[in-house]
Symmetry: C2
Subunit: 409 residues, 2 copies
C-alpha cells in the first residue's frame, strides 16, 4: 500500500507553485510557475531508480524498467486553469509518483515497465491547444498543426514548448507505438457532485464525454429601442434568449443526467442600453456519453433555431467549433479496478467523465481506465477545489493494485 | 410659405459636417465636426437680421425681435450619434432657420420675439449627459453637476464646453425665465414607422415618453460546464434569458403599442465556453406615455425576478439607472398644429414620442409642442435615415403657421 502521508506532503509541495493570494493556483501551461513545477517533478523522479526524460512535446516521463519491456503508463497533468485548484491534474501525477516510490521501496519487480507521465498543457490555455501532450503522443497533433500557433501576445507555442524542454523541430517523434503499451491508468478528481451525493468513495469511469461546441451568430436588425414598436422588431437578443432557455430545457428534460448543455459565452452588438441588439454571438456546448444523445439535443436545438428565425425575423449562422466523439474506457480495466476495490472493501460507482481528459487520447493507443476521486461540494477549477486524503488514499491503492494485476497479464 | 429648395440645400450643406465613408454622420457633441457645424449655423444666422449668441451651455441662439418681447422658441439639436443620419436633430434646427429666413424675406413683423435654438449635446454622448443644453436652460443640469464629469479619455466636459463657446464658470446663468417665454416648437423625424404605416404625413406629438432604466446583476454559481449536472446548476445566464424573454412578452402583450421594453446591454462572467456563467449584468429599459404603464411592466418583471431567483437559485440585484417621467405636450399647441394642418389640407395623426427629446425639458418652462415627420422605413440613428422633402415641406409650413397663430395670442 502507498504512503498516504508522503503523498499528502507531495500534494502540498506541488501546490506551492503558482499559489496566489486567494489560495488559487495560477499555473497555466508554459508559464514560469508551471516550468518551476516541472523542475520540482523531475527532481522528485531523479531521486528514484527510474529513467527521467522530457519528450519532444515536453511531456515528462519517469520509466521504471520491468522484464518484458511493454509499458503500463500512469499519469495526468500539472498545469492548471487560471485561479485553479491543487488537485485537478496534479493528483493523478502525484499518485503515479507515489506508486513508483512504493514499488521501489518494496523492491517489487514488475513484469512490464511502469511509466509515469505528466502531460503538457491539458487545460484550455492561451494557445487554444488543450490536451496538447496526449494528443501529440497519440498522433493527433502534429508539428504541422502547431507551427504557426501563437497566443494573444504573439508568442509562438513552439517557442514556449522549447523553453519547457520540448523539441518543436522533432515534434512528431514523440508519438508512442501501440505495441509497446499495455495500458493507461489515470486518477483524477471527479469535478462534480455525483460521488459525493451517492456517498461512494471511488468512481470507475465508463467513458470520456463527447464534447460538441457550436458558435451561433444571430443576425437581427439593430434599431431605436424607443421608436420601434414591439411588433416591428427583429431583436437578436430575444432570439438568443429563447435558444439559451431551450438548451437548458432540452438537457434538463433529457432522460440521462450525464447529458449536459451550456451557453457559456455571449457577445451582443452594439450592446447599448437604447439600441435593439442587432447581432448576438453565442457559444453552445453539449456533452454526452453517446454521440446519438448529443445529436438528439443538437437536432432539437436546430428545430428551435428554425422556429426562432421565422418568429423573430432573424437569421442564424451555425459554425461547428469542436466535435469530439465520446471515448469508451476499457471494460477489462474497469472490471479490474472494481475487483481490486472490492478486495480492499471499498464501494465503487460507474460514471461518465463529463469532462475532457488525456485518457480520451490515450485510449486510441492502449486500453485505458480512469478512477475518479470525490470532489468536496463538487467544486473544481477554483481555489476551493478539494478532496479528502481518505478518498485519495483509497484511489491510489486501488490504482496500484490494478496496475499490479494488469502487470500479471 | 417656406422655400423648400433653400431648406433642402441647407439640409445637404449641414449634412457634410462629419460625413463618413459609409454615408453616415460622425458628429458627436463637442467633436471637431460638430464645432464646424456650429460655425456654419452661426454664419447662416449672421446673414439674417437676428441677434446671434451662444449661451453659457453653448446652446446657439438666433433671436428675431418682435414687439412684445416675449419669445416663441423653435429648434432642436445638430449633434448626432456615431454613424448617425442627417435628419435627427438637424431638421428641427434647419426648419427654425428657414422660418426666420421666410419671416425676414416677407417682412413679417411678429408680436413676440422668435428665437431659434440649437441645443448642445442632445444625443447620448461620451460624457454621459444627453439633452445637455435643454436640461441646462430649464435648470435641471447645474454647474455643480457637471464640474467633475469626464469622458473615458479623461477630458472634462467643462473644457469641451468652453471650446464650443460655453462658459462653465457661469453655467447656471443660461437658465431661461418662464415669464419671458410663450411657447416652444420642435420639428423632428419620427424615427419609427407609425406614420409611414398609417400613410399620414404629419405627426402631432401628444407627449414625450417616460424612460425607466434598471441594471440587473444576476448572481449564480460559476461551475464546470461538463461535470455539473443540469439539476445542480445556478446558471446566471439562463436566469437572464428568462428575464429577457419576459420583458419582450409583457411589452408585446401590453394593450398599447406605445409601450416598449428592451434589453440592449449584457455582460456575462466569466464568459468562457466551458464554464457555467456565474454572473450576468443586464440593462433593461421600459418606455411608455404613462407612468402607470411603465410601473405595470416593472412590477410584472419584478414578479418574474422573484420566480427566477427561487427556480434557478440565483440572486438578483436591481439598480435604477434612470427614471424619467413622461411629459405631456400642450393641448393648445397640438390643436393649433392640427388646425393649421387642416387649413393647408394635410392629414395628421396624434402619437407619443417614444424617444427622448429636448421638448421634454422645455415643457417645464413653457407650453411645448412637437411635429413628427415620417421616417422612411422607420430608420434612424444610421446612415439610411431619410425623410421625403415633400413631408418636410408640409411640417415646416405647419410649424410656421402654428408659430404665427400663437404669435397672435
Ligand atoms: N478535466 C477538465 O476540466 N478538462 C477541461 C476541459 C473540459 O472538460 O472542459
Ligand atoms: N430622439 C432620440 O433618439 N433621442 C435619444 C434618446 C433616446 O430616446 O433613447
Amino acid at each position: 500500500t502507498i504512503n498516504a502521508d508522503r503523498l499528502a506532503a507531495s500534494i502540498h509541495e506541488l501546490g506551492q507553485f503558482g499559489l496566489n493570494e486567494g489560495g488559487g493556483l495560477d499555473r497555466t501551461t508554459f508559464t514560469e510557475p508551471e516550468l518551476k513545477a516541472r523542475d520540482w517533478l523531475k527532481e522528485q523522479l531523479s531521486k528514484l531508480n527510474v529513467d527521467v526524460y522530457t519528450d519532444e512535446a515536453a511531456n515528462i516521463w519517469g520509466k521504471r524498467v520491468g522484464k518484458k519491456r511493454k509499458s503500463i503508463v500512469c499519469g495526468s497533468h500539472i498545469d492548471t486553469v487560471p485561479n485553479g485548484g491543487k488537485f485537478d491534474g496534479a493528483l493523478g501525477v502525484l499518485i503515479g509518483l507515489e506508486m513508483l516510490r512504493t514499488l521501489e521501496e518494496n523492491g517489487i519487480e514488475t513484469e512490464h515497465d511502469v511509466e509515469l507521465v505528466s502531460f503538457s498543457a491539458e487545460e484550455p490555455n492561451p494557445f487554444g491547444l488543450s490536451t496538447f501532450g496526449s494528443r501529440a503522443i497519440s498522433g493527433k497533433l502534429t508539428a504541422q498543426q502547431i507551427k504557426d500557433v501563437k497566443n494573444a501576445e504573439g508568442i509562438r507555442v513552439t517557442d514556449a514548448l522549447a523553453k519547457a524542454g520540448g523539441i518543436p523541430e522533432q515534434f512528431d517523434h514523440c508519438v508512442r507505438k501501440e505495441d509497446e503499451l499495455l495500458a493507461y491508468l489515470e486518477v483524477h478528481i471527479e469535478q462534480g457532485k455525483r460521488l459525493v451525493d451517492a456517498h461512494v468513495p471511488l468512481g470507475v469511469v465508463t467513458g470520456i464525454t463527447g464534447i460538441y461546441r457550436e458558435e451561433l451568430t444571430i443576425k437581427g436588425v439593430p434599431n431605436h429601442a424607443g421608436t420601434t414598436v414591439m411588433t416591428d422588431r427583429s431583436d437578436a437578443l430575444v432570439a438568443a434568449a429563447e435558444l439559451i432557455v431551450t438548451v437548458k430545457n432540452v438537457c434538463t428534460d433529457f432522460p440521462k443526467a450525464e447529458l449536459v448543455g451550456t451557453v457559456g459565452q455571449v457577445r451582443v452588438l452594439p450592446n447599448a442600453t437604447n439600441i435593439i441588439p442587432g447581432e448576438v454571438v453565442l457559444a453552445v456546448e453539449i456533452r454526452g456519453e453517446k454521440t446519438e444523445d448529443v445529436n438528439k439535443v443538437q437536432q432539437e436545438l436546430q428545430e428551435k433555431k428554425s422556429y426562432v428565425e421565422t418568429t423573430y425575423g432573424v437569421h442564424i449562422e451555425t459554425k461547428v467549433m469542436l466535435n469530439q466523439a465520446p471515448v469508451e474506457m476499457s471494460e477489462y480495466i474497469m472490471k479490474t479496478m472494481e475487483r481490486q476495490a472490492d478486495i480492499a472493501g471499498f464501494s465503487t460507482m460507474r460514471l461518465g467523465s463529463m469532462a475532457g481528459h488525456d485518457a480520451a487520447h490515450m485510449a486510441s493507443l492502449t486500453p485505458s481506465g480512469m478512477i475518479f476521486v470525490p470532489s468536496v461540494d463538487g467544486k473544481s477549477h477554483c481555489p476551493e477545489e478539494e478532496s479528502s486524503m481518505n478518498d485519495i488514499e483509497k484511489a491510489a491503492n486501488v490504482c496500484l493494485h490494478t496496475l499490479l494485476e494488469i502487470d500479471q497479464e
